[in-house]
Structure formats: structure tokens, C-alpha cells
Amino acid sequence: MNHRKKLNAISSVILTFLILMTVVIAIMGVMVGINSLVNLYSSALDESMRHLSQYRMGQIIINRTGDYILFTNIGPSDIVVDKVVIRTITGDIEVKDVTTLCDHRVIPSMGNIRCSFTRGEYIAFILPDGVVLYPEEPLIRAQHLVFNSTRIILSKFDVGTMGDLQARFNVTPELIAKPYPTGRAVSNYTGMNSTFIPILQWEFNNTSIVTPSTGIPFGIVVVGLDPSWVVQRAQNPQLELPPRFSILLAVPRINETIQISGQTYGFPSNGARLVINNFTGTIRIIANNTVIACSSSMQGICNVNKSAIGLWYYGLRLGMRIQLNGTASYIGNYTRSSPSSSPTRSTSYLPYLFIGDIDSNGSNDLLFITEDVNYGTNDAVNDRDTWNSIDIVDWSTRPLVLRLTQIGVELGSPDGSIDGRVIGGLILFINVIFHDNSFPDDNQLNDIQRTDWVLRILLIDENGNEILIREYRYQEICLYHKTLVVDFDRDNYFTKISQSIFVNIPEPRRYWLAMSIQDPYRAEGNTNDADFTIGIELIGVLPIQRY
């Protein structure tokens, strides 16, 4: 009995041990099983991550060019393409080897392959390891094309002829209409007046103009590179274009003649202004029978260093003459006449405006010139033709407003306006020149006492209201010029005055940026009688966006 009990106890212990082991193994097994399952899931996730990465690393965009299609890889690694899935024009889906359609199998990062199949659709590219890439057309989203880089818009006077001024700068037509005499043509023109107004007596197209070889005397001469040549030159900088010139010549009454189209013309009456456009030939400035300056369309003609390009004042007074020999697209002769010879008793701005590059720096200048013959002190009328004993004082009856539409056009409005909701301001950089005939320069404020404006920068709203931004009055701007120059090599009538002007654009309307010029001085006795030259070359505009 005791022995049996003992055996029974031993078997119980063994049984217990076995049960124990089974339980432990079972529990452990379950635990380990769960873990390996987790590892399995984990490695599947790693695999999908790898796949995802590979997918993300390959980005193909479609770039259609017409004859063929470029596929650009914008991902960071090269893509080896095995097959291309296409849909043909009939709607069939076909899987083709890439080399049957495209020039390469490998699309380098940031590189292209060129595929010739254009009459259908590219659905997908299949890579050798089974990854499928879908080429995408880039969607250019407007908010990613933020217009906010520094941008300086240049407003230039790149007009081929004076007639383009009206279209490009929205000038009131009658202010720059041709001032024909009474009876010649029905013409509505106004804006300027004078003691003797310049009236367009005759004009020629495509003709020759030749002065005597000793030249003719002049009051003032402006010589510039012709605006059409400046524009042509800027568009073809590599071409050696023979220069063409634009000339404005103010001549008092003289007993000398010029040949136009082979016929002889004189300067009787009270003098004249000759406008010569697109002149091909030679221009010489002569003093004391010596050529002191020369410019020519032909090489080897001029044998002095100084160019004739620029402004030459008081030729008659300083004993200077101008010699011309060449052909011109247009010649207009504005004869100084009594205001009664005009149907409007006035004239337009046309005889007073000049466009051309007067300093050969590649930019056209717009000049407004009321000076004709002479300079004077506060004891005399400045522009007095002492040789014929007449005064030639010119003044404005209406300002000439030029809308700088190029700025609005560049900012996206075809009508040249500036949208106040988008543009909060403009910073203008302008180059201005000024010269007048009040002499001597340290007495000009006694001669010209009335403070009046000669140049304005304006905003014009949709209703035509003018908002004044900045005005230049005579007394400010006269300080920078020299009336009389005799040392033409080193002395200067003026240097360009550079000015920066901030223009606040009000909300929420549209505005045109404009400049306005006038000669406000018609002489009060011997004072307030300035005739002058004002010029604008470049206007640079830095637009400021409204936030």
C-alpha cells in the first residue's frame, strides 16, 4: 500500500510536469506566433514603403511639342522604362515596348525621352520591376506663378514717326495735328500760340535736301538719331546699320537758300522751322569756315571727332552754320506767320516736338522746344531776332498730355491703364533735360519771376480727372542748365536730371500714368519771357503690388 502510494505520487509529479510543460509551451507558442505575425506585417509595410518610394521617385511629365512628345523625368533618379501603354485613336489599348515608340529606354533625371506616337494617348509606363508610372500633364496653377520679381518697366519714346505719338501716348489729336494755313485744308489744331506762329506751308516726302557747301545760318538746330533707326537698331543689335538722322532746324529770315528736290527755297517771312525726318546723308556744323562737328550715314566722310548729334543753340549769334547733304523721308516747312493766317488763330505742338536720340545712348528722347533764335536778359525779350527786329515768343494755350500707356500694357491692361486694386504704387525714375534762353544764368530768377510749371507727372482716372503727382516749375528746373556754351568740347548746356518719384495709386479705380508739358511764359514786357527746351528720355517704372 505504501509502495503503491509512493508510485502514485511519482506518476502524479510526472503528469504534473508534463501538463506544466504543455501549458508553458502552448502559451509561449501563442506569444511567439503573434510576434512573428507582427514581423510579417512589418516587412510587408516595408515592402510597400519601398514600392511607394520608388513610385514617388519616378515622376514623368508630358511636354507636347507638336511633331513629337517629350517625356520629362522630374524625379531624382533615372527611370528605366520597359513597356508603354497607349490608347490609339480608335480607342484600342496597346502595350508596346518603349523602344518601338521612343528614342531611349532610360529617362535620365531632369532629362527627356522623345516619343513619336502623337495620334493617341499615353496611359502609363511600366518599369521592369513592375512599378507603373502614369505620365501627367502639368497643371500650371495661377497661384504658383506669383508675379513678384523685381520688374522695371521702361516707357520709351520708341515711335517711328510723330504720327505714332497719338496712338502710343493717347495724345489729343488736335494738339499734334498738322497746322495748315487757312484755305489749304480743313484742319482743327490748337495748343500753342506765338508772336509769329509756325504754319505748315509745304511738305515733301522722300526727297533730297542740300544746302550750300558753306552751310546756312541757323537759330537753333537739334540733331538726333532717327527714332525709326533707334528702334531698328535695338531689334538688330548685331547689324551695322548706317545711321539715319532726325533734324529740327529753326532759321530766322535770311538771304540764303537751300535745294529741296532740286528746287530752290528761301527763308523769307519771319523765319521758319524745318522738320527733317529719317535723313540719310551728312550733317556738318561749321564755325569760322571750319567744320567743328560732323555726322554722316556714310563712313569716312567726317574728319572731325565731334559728332553733330545734339543741340546747337544760337548759331547766328555765335557765327555757326549748318550744312546738309542727303535725302529724307519727310521734310516739313513751318513758316513763321501772323496768327491771322491760321483758321484757329493758333498752332499745334507739332512744330515744337522732336523725337530722336540726341546723345547716342540707344534711347529716344522726346523734346519740346520753344526756343528759336536768341538768348536775352531781363532788359530784353529773350527770343528776339535782332537781325530782323522781331520777337519770336512761343507759349502754350493748352498743356500737352502724354499718357504713358506702355506701363499699363506691360502690367496686363491692353488700354494702358493701371488697376488700383492690384498695383498700390509706382516708383518712377525719370531722366529730364532742360535748357532755356534767359541769360546770364545767375540772373534768370530775376528775368523769370512768375513761378509756373513746365512738366508734370499725373494720374488720370477713368473719367478724365487729373491727379497731380509731381510738378517741375521753372524756378526748380532752371538751376541745372547753362544757357550759353562756347566750348563745345567740354562745356555742356545740360546734363540729364535723374529724379525718383513715388506715385501712390488710389483704390479701386483704373488710372493712366501721364506726363504733361507746357510753356507758360508769353512775355510780360521783358520778363517772364522764357522760351525753353524740355526733354524726357527714359521713364523707368518699378510697380509696387497692393497687398
Binding site: 502510494k5 505520487a9 502524479s12 501538463i19 506544466l20 501549458v23 508553458v24 502559451i27 509561449m28 506569444m31 510576434n35 507582427v38 512589418s42 509595410l45 518610394s53 514617388r56 521617385m57 515622376q59 514623368i60 511629365i61 522630374i74 524625379g75 531624382p76 533618379s77 533625371s109 531632369m110 532629362g111 501627367e136 502639368p138 497643371l139 496653377r141 504658383h144 506663378l145 506669383v146 508675379f147 513678384n148 520679381s149 523685381t150 520688374r151 518697366i153 521702361l154 520709351k156 543689335p237 545712348n361 534711347s363 525714375f429 531722366n431 545767375d442 538751376l479 541745372y480 542748365h481 547753362k482 562745356d491 555742356n492 545740360f494 546734363t495 535723374s498 521713364i539 523707368g540 518699378l542
Partner: protein
């Protein structure tokens, strides 16, 4: 009874065994699990941040440098840390994954991108960034759907400094800017009072007692050392001397009246010590009618003395006329060009002329060739840029008491775009005497800084141009007019460039 006892004992034993088994199992599982489960616990966190990360990449066109950089916008919900950048060579041949830890090839600013924020990758010009890798190992590349080039948004107007700050510390640093450099030594100025090159030494101690008509003192903004130019004369003045001891302890004692009685210009560069002058331009003779005495004692990196002993017209280099230093303590170093020496004048007298000891000393100077600075650090290509605004800050003074009655309207400053293949300006603007004389008072001496913004038209040619600036004293002497001597200084030159916008 006995069987019952046995049953009870065995059930106790089984209970104990089961308890022990559970205990062993739990303990051994814990031991096993601890060794196993570290990555297991980490996994959910990684998944969360991996899934929550999302960057959108956009190419940025850096119009200022012409290079491309990559913008990273965090549009996800998790913070993204960038550890690597994928770049390609400009020629597209090389491709690199650049670790940000140890490279200067690319900069990511900032590297940690909070949700909703933007970061930028900029690389050296040779490399173009095209992708980014986060610390979770995710790789981001450009998204085809928004593959458009975003023009970079700037706060304010990006202006490139052409000259300003501390680009030069001494006149010898100007060699790199002046064109042609040899003009410093010869062919620069025509003077009525030729100089001798009297003395020059480097790293010296200096002691002196100097008769001065005009003193200019500027500081080096970096080390606060002084650059000093002393202009004066010493005819009949035996007190004026300069004593210089070099590193070899050699002592030179220069009596100025014996080497330079008519005029001297002494340049002392990078000076530390005591000197009885203050920063700026001190025109003793112009303002007071008498000269002043400068007492100087200290060390200097360079001392150079130019002197005149006889009245003789001669051509000189520009070095005696140039000064470098910050004269108004605004941390911008001025470059000054000085032809002024002694005194003032008017239309019926010669401006820079004095009577000393019964002898007339005339010190009129004019440029033979302009002092031309070409800032070659910033090439401006006509195909890339259509326009520019050139901003110049300068100062001007001249010695003509009756202004425009004394001098013609000659050009003094010319600034523009310079073509160094033809040696000419393709576009230039000018400042003439009639304008510049408005900004100064002759006596008492006063100047105002002039800031000018010139708009520049750049021709559309595929050629590099450079900003050029010329300074000219155009006046020597014609009878008693056109004889101004000047002081002109440039403090700052900057440019705003406008990209050419192809239609």
C-alpha cells in the same frame, strides 16, 4: 481517509504546479518580449509620422542670382526634418544625395519644417536641388501636377550692392576696382605742382608735428583703425617733422620743409594711437584762414609721403589724390578723390593758390584720364536683364566761391553700364558742375550727401556688361576761370536689376 488526504495533497500540488507554470511563462515571456519588442513598440509612432508627412516641392527661380532653388512646403500634419538633399549637376550627368550634416553644397533653411511652413533648398551654382529626404526616409520630389516655376517672392526690392560697406580698407585695395590700375602710379592727374615720391614704409611707429591746410580722417569699420590724409605746406616752417621707426628699429626723421616745402600729401593707413583730429574732412585753411597743427603718435600699417619742392607742372598717378575710410562713421567706407589742397578762389582769382613767405604756390590739379571704377563682381548680361536702376550715394565740394560764374558746366561724374571689350559706356548718365555745385557750401565748408537713382536701359545682346563709374576733375586753369579743385567721394553704389521678360 488516507485516500482523501492523498487527493487533497495532489490537488494542492497541481495548483502549485499550475501557478508556478503561469509564473514561469509570464516571467519568461516578459524576458523574451523585452528583448524582442523594442522595434514593435516603435512601429506605430513611425507609421504615424511617416503617413502624416507630406511636402510639396516647387522650383523657385531666383531672379537675383539667376539660379534655381527648391521650395518645400509642408502640407502634412507632422513636423518634417530634412536630412538629405538630392542634387544633380548643371550638366545633368552627376547625381548626388547630399547629407546636410557635413556639406556646404546645399543649405536648407530651415531644416525642420513645421506643418504649413515653407523651407528653401539653395545649392552652389553648379548644382540644382531636385529632391529632399526626411529623417523618416521619405523621399520627396517635384509633383508633376504643380510642376510650374514659381517666381520667388521677395520682401522689398532685391538690390545688389556694387560698392559699399567695407570693400576696401586702404588705397592699395582700389587696384582691383580702378581701370586701368596703372593710373594709380602714372597718367592720372596733371598738376601745377609736381610731386616727388618722398617716403614710404610699412608697419611703423610714427610721431609727427605737421602743418596742415586740409586733414581727412576716416575709420576702418572693421577694426576701428584710422586712415589719415594730411595735406599742407611747410615753407619757412622748421617745426613740421615726421619721425618714423620701422620694425628693424631704424629711425627716420623727416623735416618736411626740406623735402616738401611747397606741398605735401601724407597718407597714414591703419593707424592706432593719438592724433588731435576728428573724423571727417577738416579744411583748416578754408574755414579759419590759417593752417592747423596735427600732432600724431602711434603705429601705422603704411605711411607714404608725397612732396613738392619746386613749382613744376607734371603728370602724376592718382595715388596721392585718393583716400579710403569711413569719414561719417556709418560703417560704409568712402572712396575720396581730392584735388583740393589749400584755399578757395573766384572768377577773378586762381582758386587753389597761396602766398607763403613771399612766394606764390599754386596747386591746381585736373584729371588727364578719368578715375574709372569698374565693378566686375556683378556681370550684367543683356539677354538676362532689360533695365536697371543704379543708385549712387556721393558727396561733392569745390573751392569756387562764385559757383557757376567761375566754372563751365563740365561733366564730373559719369555712371552707367560699361563694356570692357570695347572700353566704352553703352549707357551712361552724367552729373555736371552746374548741378553738383548746388549741394555744397564753399566757405564755411559744408557738404550734403547726394543720392541719385539712374534708370538704365540695357541692350538685348548676349554680352556681359559691368557697372562703371567715372570721376573727373575737369578743371585745371584758364586765365582765372575753370580752375576748381574738388573733393568728391563715393559711399555706396547699388543696382536693382529687372529680368528680361520674354513675351
Amino acid at each position: 481517509m488516507c485516500r482523501r488526504r492523498f487527493m487533497k495533497a495532489s490537488s494542492e500540488a497541481i495548483a502549485i504546479v499550475i501557478s508556478v507554470a503561469i509564473l514561469i511563462t509570464v516571467v519568461s515571456y516578459l524576458v523574451y518580449a523585452l528583448s524582442l519588442l523594442t522595434p514593435g513598440y516603435d512601429l506605430p509612432g513611425r507609421i504615424t509620422s511617416y503617413v502624416g508627412e507630406e511636402l510639396v516641392l516647387v522650383m523657385l527661380n531666383e531672379t537675383a542670382t539667376g539660379g534655381m532653388s527648391l521650395g518645400l512646403k509642408n502640407v502634412g500634419s507632422a513636423v518634417v526634418n530634412i536630412t538629405h538633399v538630392v542634387v544633380i549637376d548643371r550638366d545633368g550627368l552627376g547625381r548626388y544625395i547630399v547629407s546636410l550634416e557635413n556639406t556646404t553644397v546645399c543649405v536648407v533653411q530651415p531644416r525642420t519644417i513645421l506643418p504649413g511652413r515653407m523651407s528653401t533648398i539653395s545649392c552652389l551654382p553648379r548644382y540644382m536641388p531636385i529632391g529632399a529626404v526626411s529623417n523618416n526616409g521619405r523621399i520627396y520630389t517635384l509633383d508633376a501636377r504643380i510642376y510650374s516655376i514659381q517666381l520667388r517672392t521677395f520682401v522689398g526690392i532685391p538690390m545688389s550692392k556694387i560698392y559699399g560697406g567695407v570693400m576696401v580698407e586702404s588705397t592699395s585695395d582700389l587696384i582691383g576696382l580702378i581701370d586701368p590700375p596703372h593710373i594709380l602710379r602714372s597718367g592720372g592727374v596733371n598738376t601745377s605742382l609736381g610731386f616727388n615720391y618722398v617716403y614710404e614704409k610699412y608697419n611703423v611707429t610714427i610721431r609727427g608735428n605737421i602743418n596742415a591746410s586740409l586733414v581727412i580722417t576716416g575709420r576702418n569699420p572693421v577694426n576701428s583703425k584710422l586712415n589719415i590724409m594730411i595735406i599742407g605746406f611747410s615753407r619757412g616752417d622748421t617745426r613740421s617733422f615726421v619721425e618714423i621707426r620701422d620694425q628693424n628699429n631704424r629711425l627716420d626723421n623727416i623735416t618736411l620743409s626740406s623735402v616738401a616745402p611747397n606741398r605735401y600729401r601724407i597718407k597714414i593707413e591703419n593707424f592706432i594711437g593719438t592724433v588731435n583730429t576728428s573724423l571727417g574732412i577738416i579744411p583748416c585753411l578754408v574755414n579759419n584762414g590759417t593752417t592747423c597743427r596735427i600732432f600724431i603718435n602711434g603705429t601705422a600699417d603704411r605711411v607714404v609721403i608725397y612732396g613738392s619742392s619746386i613749382n613744376a607742372t607734371r603728370e602724376e598717378g592718382l595715388d596721392p589724390y585718393l583716400f579710403v575710410g569711413d569719414i561719417d562713421s556709418n560703417d560704409n567706407t568712402e572712396i575720396l578723390f581730392i584735388t583740393q589742397d589749400f584755399t578757395t578762389g573766384n572768377r577773378s582769382s586762381i582758386n587753389d593758390q597761396i602766398l607763403v613767405g613771399g612766394a606764390l604756390t599754386r596747386a591746381v590739379d585736373t584729371n588727364i584720364n578719368p578715375l574709372r571704377f569698374i565693378f566686375s563682381g556683378q556681370p550684367i548680361n543683356g539677354k538676362k536683364y532689360s533695365a536697371a536702376v543704379l543708385s549712387v550715394r556721393l558727396l561733392f565740394w569745390d573751392n569756387s566761391e562764385d559757383d557757376i560764374s567761375n566754372n563751365d558746366n563740365r561733366i564730373i561724374v559719369r555712371a552707367g553700364l560699361y563694356d570692357n571689350t570695347t572700353g566704352s559706356f553703352i549707357y551712361a548718365t552724367y552729373l555736371g558742375y552746374y548741378e553738383l555745385n548746388r549741394y555744397r557750401s564753399v566757405r564755411p565748408f559744408s557738404i550734403s550727401y547726394i543720392v541719385r537713382d539712374f534708370v538704365i536701359n540695357i541692350p538685348p545682346v548676349d554680352k556681359d556688361f559691368y557697372v562703371g563709374l567715372e570721376i573727373i576733375d575737369p578743371f585745371l586753369l584758364e586765365d582765372t576761370v575753370n580752375d576748381a579743385d574738388i573733393i568728391i567721394g563715393i559711399e555706396y553704389v547699388g543696382i536693382v536689376l529687372s529680368s528680361r521678360w520674354e513675351q
